[in-house]
Every structure is written in C-alpha cells, then in structure tokens.
C-alpha cells in the first residue's frame, strides 16, 4: 500500500504539484494500478540483454543549426538573447 504521504513525496520529486482535494483519488487509483503491476512478480528469468542493440555515435562536430532568433521565439521571457528562468538559489 502506498500512502498519501508517499504520493505527495513522489509528486514533489516530479515537480507535478498536487492539491489536497485530489490526493485521496490519486492515491486510491495509484494503489489499484500498483496492485495490477504485482503480476510482474511472476516474471521468470533474469533477462539476457538484447545482443542486436548497439550504440550509434557521431563525431562531435559543429553543424549548421537553427538561428538563435527562431530558437527563442517560443520562450515566454527572454533577455539579451538568453531565456529567463526562475531563480535556483
């Protein structure tokens, strides 16, 4: 059983924001879904890893990219060619 307190903690980790009114509903739904996920406890085997997968890399070379103006166009707040963000300190 996951408690309301744990759901609140997860919501904080995910920066998702959760109201006290919706906390009860979310927690109940969460527990129903996690109960269903318990079927994974019956999974046998360790997994062998998929051998056909390989990394795809390229040289770290500068390429033509979008103009700064186009990149900034969707940002709600900019200043001197930078994007404005909330303070972190």
């Amino acid at each position: 059983m996951v408690t309301e307190h744990e759901v609140q903690h997860i919501a904080k980790l995910a920066d998702i924001g959760i109201n006290t009114e919706e906390l009860g509903t979310f927690t109940a739904q969460f527990n129903a879904i996690l109960d269903y996920f318990d079927t994974l406890d019956t999974v046998k085997g360790e997994g062998t890893g998929t051998s056909e997968l390989f990394n795809v890399l390229r040289e770290d070379e500068v390429e033509i990219s979008l103009p700064q103006e186009d990149v900034l166009r969707n940002a709600p707040a900019t200043e001197d060619g930078f994007i404005k963000a909330p303070r972190v300190m």
Binding site: V2, V7, I10, A11, K12, L13, A14, D15, I16, G17, I18, N19, E22, F26, Q29, F30, A32, I33, L34, Y36, F37, T39, L40, D41, T42, V43, K44, G45, E46, G47, T48, T50, V56, R58, L66, D70, V71, R73, N74, A75, P76, A77, I83, K84, A85, P86, R87, V88
Partner: protein
Amino acid sequence: MARHTIPFEPDDPCHSFLTTCTPAEYGDGPLAGVAVAVKDNISTKGIETTCASKILKGYIPPYDAHVVGLLRSAGAAIVGKTNMDEFGMGTTTENSAFGPTLNPCDPSRVPGGSSGGSAAAVAAGMVRMALGSDTGGSIRCPAAFCGIVGLKPSYGRVSRYGLIAYSNSLEQIGPLGKTVQDISTLMGVIAGYDRHDSTSQDRPYRHTPAADIKGLKIGIPEEYFGRGVDPHVADVVRKAIARLEECGATTVPCSIPSMEYALAAYYVTCTSEASSNLARFDGVRYGPPPDTRKPWHDAFQEVRRAGFGAEVRRRILLGTFALSSGYYGKYYAKAQVARENVREDFNRIFHDVDVIAGPTMPTIAFKLKEKTDPLSMYLADILTVPANLAGIPSISVPCGSSEGMPVGLQIMGRMFEDERVVDVAYAYEQAVN
C-alpha cells in the same frame, strides 16, 4: 518547385482537427495535392503543435519532423493537425485538453485513441490519409474503432525526429487510411533512414501490395480470443480469419504466455519513460510562463499542475515511482525482463508461422464517458501492446461489425516484415470487396 494550394474549410462535426491550414500548400510528387492530416504530436514548422495539451498551447515548432519534410517533398497538402489524447496518453481521445473527438460511425461513441482525430478525419472522408503515432496501440485502436486501416511499422523503420517524445522505446509514427493501398503508399513516403534519429534503420519501404497468400501460415494465439475479449468481436474476427483460409492460408494454434504480464510491463515502461521525457515541460523554453520570482520547484509545480491534465500527471507520478530508489528492481527492472520474454515468445512462434492474427481491440468503441477508471481503460490495450514491446509490425484492417460498430482484424509480423502484414491485410480487403 511549383507550389499550389487547395482550400480546406471542411465541416468537422466530430472535432477531428485542432488546427486547419487554409489554404493548404502542396507541390509536385507522388502525393501531389493529396490532403494529409498530421497528428498534433508531430512537429510542423510554422503550424501550432500542442500534443492536445494546455502546456504547449501556442507552441509553433521552428522545424519540421523528418516525416513532415518527406510529406512536403512528396507533394502532399498538409491540411491540419489532429486531435489526440494529451501527449498520446489514452485510448479514447477524451484526454485531449481541447475536448474529445467523436466517432464518425456513431457520434455517441469514442473514436479510440490516442490518434483519434487522425482516424476520425479519414473515416469521415475529410482526408484520404493521415499520420498517427502508436506507443501501445494508438494507431491500430482508432483504426479499428472507426473502421479504417492503420499500420504500426516495425520499430526503427520510420524516423521519430520531431515526434514529441512520450515513450521513445515503444512509439512509432505510422499511416492511417481508408484502404490498404493508401496506407502502403503513405508508408512508402515516410519510411527510411534518418541520421537525426539514432534508432533509425536503413530499411526503406518500396512495396506494392500483393494479394497472393497461398501457403501462408497464420498463428492464432489463444490469449487473443480468451478472457476479457467480447465473444461477438471474437466471432467476427474468427470469420475474417476463415476468409483468409479460403484464400489459401493455413492456421496454426499458438500461445503467448507472457501476455499474462505484458500489459503491466508496458505501463511500467511507458510511464517511466514519460516521467523523464515530460520533465522538459516547465514553461521556460515554451508554454505558459513560470513565475520567475519564485523558487524554481514552486514555479515549475504551478506551471505543471495547471498545464497537464489528470492522466498525464498520473502517468508522470507512476513513472517517477517505478524508477525511484527501492522500487526500481520491483517494477522497471522486472518490466524489462518481461519485455524480453514477450519478444522471445514472438520469436518462437514466428519460427513456425509467418504472421499472427487476432482482434485489434477486445471490444467495439466505448460510449463517451463510459470508461472513467484509469485501470479499466489501460486493460483495453491488452491486445495491442505486445507488438510495441517486441517492436514488430502490426496492422489493423476492418473486418466486419458488431452491434453496428466496426471491428478490426490485427495482423502482426516478424521484425521488419511490414510488407508481409500489408499483403495479408490487402488479401483480406480484396477478398471481401
């Protein structure tokens, strides 16, 4: 290149479109002047792209998705962006922040999802073909519910560059259309290598559908006709498979034991990937602005609480939980082992058969607002998620009706044998028409 325009001002009583382009431009090429609708999670330069979310309202992509560039080069007229479940999270298109799409076959029912707008636009005859994306059935489900054809290509055959990511390891862009010929034509335009997608495969699609299926072996998994599948739907699909036998195919019973936990493995995987992918939506680079005077956790929480719908927030929470310390081994790690088991089940079966057939969806289209509990909604995806977990191609083709609503026949094939599932669907379509 010569540019022409067509007017596109259709009636849209089912709310298939979020944005329409009037007039729509087109050029020369194999799709010259063909009206194509594009799901709203696929980036279109200069055309608003929202993923049906308030958090992307007003977002105008500065570049085209790879597939959109290919469409434009082929001469297609991109006539608009279609409604969907927010970020692709849903099975009904009711999770759109901008209101649901209705099923053109019966407007009191959902069109399926998450590519419900694309499917409804095709079914209503507004466009000949459309692009959708399929993470756990999001092309095949609405194709089945609306009575049209939809293909989820093999993972890697179609570039995901410019597809706004929800669950990278599962999702593929694919075609929807009225006929198998149409989805095959569209697949020919969008498939192929793209250096901007590191999972892209150099496997272009150059194929003309052929209806000859003499000697084809079809696996019939018992799980696709068992618990949770509406017996009427199962009957319609059994009759369709009998039709394929009349065309010269033989059937072989088989079993996919990993179906027991495939759906759980799917939901753990997609929510985990979503929790990481959707971390980028904080209002800083696009979307509604955060209050820059507040500490960043507070500012981001406000933006994300107001901008994301309930299902998106639920999935972000589930995924964050499944990846969190202490639970990772129980959920995410187990889901990856389960996923390998699904793949191995398919490999074993495809040793003996050429394709696997069954219903696309366990029921006909739900009534609007019929499914309110998230878990019961998730269970509706049980027959479509195995193909995503394994990465294999899968097509849904209309095969009759139950209670007056369309039923889809699903045909899954070996990895990269998209051409074969298209041929089997084509053989069925030719046999009944």
